[in-house]
């Protein structure tokens, strides 16, 4: 029977990468001093599974390497080796190497043999160092009795099962049958131990056998057959030589060997031409280009249930349509309402399939914080909450890098050195929090630290130097915080190895905007700062406000809308250098007329008081968008313009409305750029 083992490879790699996460997270917790048995057990199991799978699927190098890790973990698990920081570090490095090996193997390349060799040597040196007990030698028995096998013409076997044998699920008959398959077998039963009928227990085995196998087979074949029952019987296996008289059993033969021991301990040679492919990006386990997703079976079941409901509703409606008369109007309405409900539920269930817990992204941070903290000489505690908050898979894949950047920033610029913290009367250990939670149809991710906060004066000085603001501008804290999102802005005294990687906060914001989200900063000097990211739960469907401008309909993402107001004449103010603004409470909001931005010919409202003003939040500031009318709120399915036509500035996509017409979805930051570029709103970015 030939089975294509490759079909299991993808699952194997997926679970192996998950296993690596488990190992890494566990090791990091142990590094923090928490050593509990279940933790070590979980790490061991992960290594064990990777070893078992890689052996089975033929990835010998991975299996060999993991075997050494497993041996070390096994000693730790059994308490034969203490858990020391050094051991944990070695294991952490081994996890990295193993990850690279798996990544390379998945892509059909060979792992870098040199790196593997070095790491394996390091593991072995730890193993060789005295734990509390000497490392166990390989238990595999060498096939010691092989030498006597070939010359035997047959075998004489005395087989006396212990009474309980059948209770192990073994069956003497099966063993005898198997022996008979090897050649001509003479069976002599011994019933002498059979008790009188009154004492007979049908669950016990009272028989024994004298077996003569007339076949020149290997001793190992015989041993293999008795392998499982060697402790549950008296057994003598004696070779029968040609012409030699049959001898009596010399008593139970104790020399045993484990017959089934494939050569799994083969040392690795380079089996393919070494083409070490270094892969820099770690965690590629999640961002695999050949995308697949593992879905909880419960979600699939819910989906199937829902489809079932839908089919029932559909058949009910079509039955109704067969001979419809007005008397059935009520039933038709009910049916349509049901259809509506089931469709919505189905939609939600389908969306659920793409949802993954944010822990997929968060899980990299303990390691990152651990490594960076050591590098920077800072004491840092990472607190994570809401790891189970679910978010769209695409968001998970794309939010990783921006988050890494933000956390690095917090560690590098936000948190102070221990001495500085003590001097400021704070605990020596700085805290970084990663929080995720759902709020109003969005997911919010916060990165909070209790460091020094943003330095208002330095940011302002830098902005003046760069000509981003003018002296006379009186900026609020919030506007100053906004400045760090400007391209090319960096306040670090010197570009450090840690966070100065040429990626600025402007790129972070752009990435987040591309996901349809927003980012803002809160900061309290000396107390710390917080970065708050809001993202839509899914990228396929959007909660939108439909608005009318002239004959056109546009969708404004609900996530961007602060409020919608009717402008009164006295709210309009002309501010020098900023054009027309609306005074809303204490703020002056710049105004964008949508019909001007998109060149719409016959708007109903050109005067601010004739239309409605949608106040939106974008690029850190609020501004008003003038539209003719608000039509309604609805969920719209996003169709990509780029995929179907081309990228259009100010538009993030399109959707099809209930009446079949197409409506464009506004990209608020893009609209802002368009308006600023057209000179419509002077220096909107700064004044916003």
């Amino acid at each position: 029977m030939s089975i294509d083992m490759e079909q299991f490879h993808q699952v194997f790699f997926e679970e192996s990468f998950e296993g690596l996460e488990v190992m890494e997270a566990g090791l990091l917790r142990m590094d923090g001093g928490a050593v509990d048995d279940e933790e070590i057990n979980a790490i061991f199991r992960a290594a064990h599974s990777i070893k078992g799978g890689s052996g089975t699927f033929g990835f010998t190098e991975v299996a060999d390497f993991t075997h050494v890790m497993e041996t070390l973990l096994d000693e730790m698990r059994d308490g034969r080796r203490p858990v020391t920081p050094n051991t944990v570090q070695v294991l952490l490095r081994s996890v990295d190497v193993l990850r690279e090996m798996l990544t390379a193997t998945r892509e059909g390349a060979s792992p870098d043999p040199e790196q593997v060799r070095i790491q394996q040597a390091e593991l072995e040196s730890v193993l060789a160092s005295p734990g509390t007990a000497p490392p166990e030698a390989s238990v595999d028995a060498a096939p010691e009795s092989r030498e006597q096998a070939p010359e035997a013409a047959g075998w004489h076997i005395v087989f006396r099962p212990h009474p309980h044998m059948m209770r192990t699920g073994n069956d003497p008959l099966r063993i005898i049958r198997e022996l008979a398959e090897l050649g001509d077998l003479q069976v002599t039963g011994d019933v002498s131990l059979l008790p009188p009928f009154s004492e007979f227990d049908p669950e016990e085995c009272y028989l024994s056998w004298d077996l003569h196998l007339d076949a020149p087979v290997d001793r190992a074949r015989i041993d293999e057959i008795f392998d499982w029952v060697e402790d549950d019987c008296d057994l003598a296996i004696m070779p029968v030589m040609i012409d030699a008289p049959r001898e009596e059993a010399p008593g139970p033969d104790q020399s045993r060997l484990s017959a089934v021991s494939p050569p799994a301990e083969r040392r690795v040679g380079e089996r393919r031409s070494p083409e070490p492919r270094r892969r820099q990006e770690r965690r590629s386990g999640q961002a695999s280009p050949s995308s697949s997703i593992r879905v909880d079976i419960g979600k699939i079941d819910a989906l199937i249930n829902m489809v079932g409901e839908l089919v029932i509703t559909q058949s009910m409606l079509s039955l109704l349509g067969d001979d419809f008369h007005m008397g059935q109007l009520g039933r038709l309405r009910d049916g349509l309402a049901q259809l509506d409900r089931h469709t919505r539920e189905l939609q939600e269930s389908v969306m659920q399939i793409r949802m993954l817990p944010i822990s997929f992204t968060f899980s990299r941070f303990p390691r990152l914080v651990h490594d960076l903290g050591a590098k920077l000489g800072k004491k840092i505690e990472l607190k994570m909450t809401g790891e189970n908050t679910e978010v769209d898979k695409t968001v998970i894949e794309k939010i990783g890098d921006p988050l890494v950047h933000l956390v690095r920033n917090s560690l590098d610029h936000g948190l102070e050195m221990p001495e500085e913290r003590i001097a400021a009367g704070k605990p020596e250990t700085g805290t970084v929090e990663l929080n995720a939670y759902h709020k109003g149809g969005n997911i919010v991710i916060e990165i909070r630290d209790d460091g020094r906060g943003l330095d208002r004066d330095r940011i302002l000085a830098k902005a003046l130097e760069r000509g981003l603001v003018q002296e006379d501008h009186n900026l609020t804290d919030r506007q100053i915080h906004e400045l760090i999102f400007q391209p090319g802005f960096s306040t670090a005294e010197q570009v450090s190895d840690v966070s100065g990687r040429g990626v600025g906060m402007d790129v972070v914001r752009r990435n987040i905007n591309e996901l349809g989200g927003s980012i803002e900063i809160e900061s309290e000097p000396g107390q710390g700062s917080a970065i708050i990211i809001r993202l839509p739960l899914t990228l396929a469907i959007l909660d939108g406000q439909t608005v009318a401008v002239g004959d056109e309909t546009y969708i404004v993402p609900l996530i961007s809308i602060v409020e919608s107001i009717q402008v009164r004449r006295e709210m309009i103010h002309l501010v020098a250098g900023r054009g027309e603004t609306i005074r809303l409470r204490d703020d002056y909001l710049p105004v964008i007329r949508l019909h001007e931005v998109f060149g719409i010919e016959n708007p109903r409202a050109t005067d601010l008081v004739d239309g409605l003003l949608v106040v939106v939040e974008g690029e850190g500031g609020q501004f008003g968008i003038l539209v003719d009318d608000l039509i309604g709120q609805q969920q719209v399915v996003i169709k990509s313009l780029e995929a179907n036509y081309q990228r259009v500035e100010g538009i993030s996509g399109a959707t099809i409305l209930g009446d079949g017409s197409v409506a464009l979805i506004l990209d608020i930051p893009g609209v802002l750029r368009l308006a600023a570029g057209a000179g419509d709103v002077d220096q909107l970015q700064q004044s916003a």
């Binding site: 089975i3 299991f8 078992g52 041996t71 669950e203």
Partner: protein, 120 residues
């Protein structure tokens, strides 16, 4: 056709075992750990159990012990999947009532041969 309960916390191994056995015409039920397996075994009744040893929640050895204690599983073949270095695991397994073991790594043919052996 005989039904087999395949227990392993590793999805790829479980799939491999299940796929191989199904291909040979057996009914296969899968379980991801000992607890799940024990529940299935109690409610369904199977002809053979093949279990991994290292698993969360309930490991293979405990599973075998608990199964063997059930009246309906007194004589059922219970096989464990173990690694070449697991000599003491084999002993523990035997003590718990395991029928035998399949040594990892194994290929589908070895698995099928072993299963045929115990299911007759």
């Amino acid at each position: 056709m005989a039904s087999i309960l395949a227990v392993d916390d590793s999805a790829s191994m479980r799939q491999m075992v299940a796929f191989t056995l199904k291909g040979a015409g057996y009914d296969v039920i899968e379980a991801a750990d000992g607890v799940e397996a024990l529940n299935i075994a109690k409610s369904k009744g199977v002809n053979l159990v093949i279990t991994d040893v290292n698993m969360p929640n309930m490991d293979g050895i405990s599973l075998i012990k608990q199964l063997r204690a059930l009246p309906s599983y007194r004589f059922t073949p219970l096989l464990m999947l173990t690694t070449e270095s697991g000599q003491d695991k084999k002993q523990q397994g035997k003590a718990a009532g395991a029928t035998g073991w399949i040594v990892k790594p194994f290929n589908p043919d070895q698995l099928l041969n072993t299963v045929k052996k115990v299911l007759g």
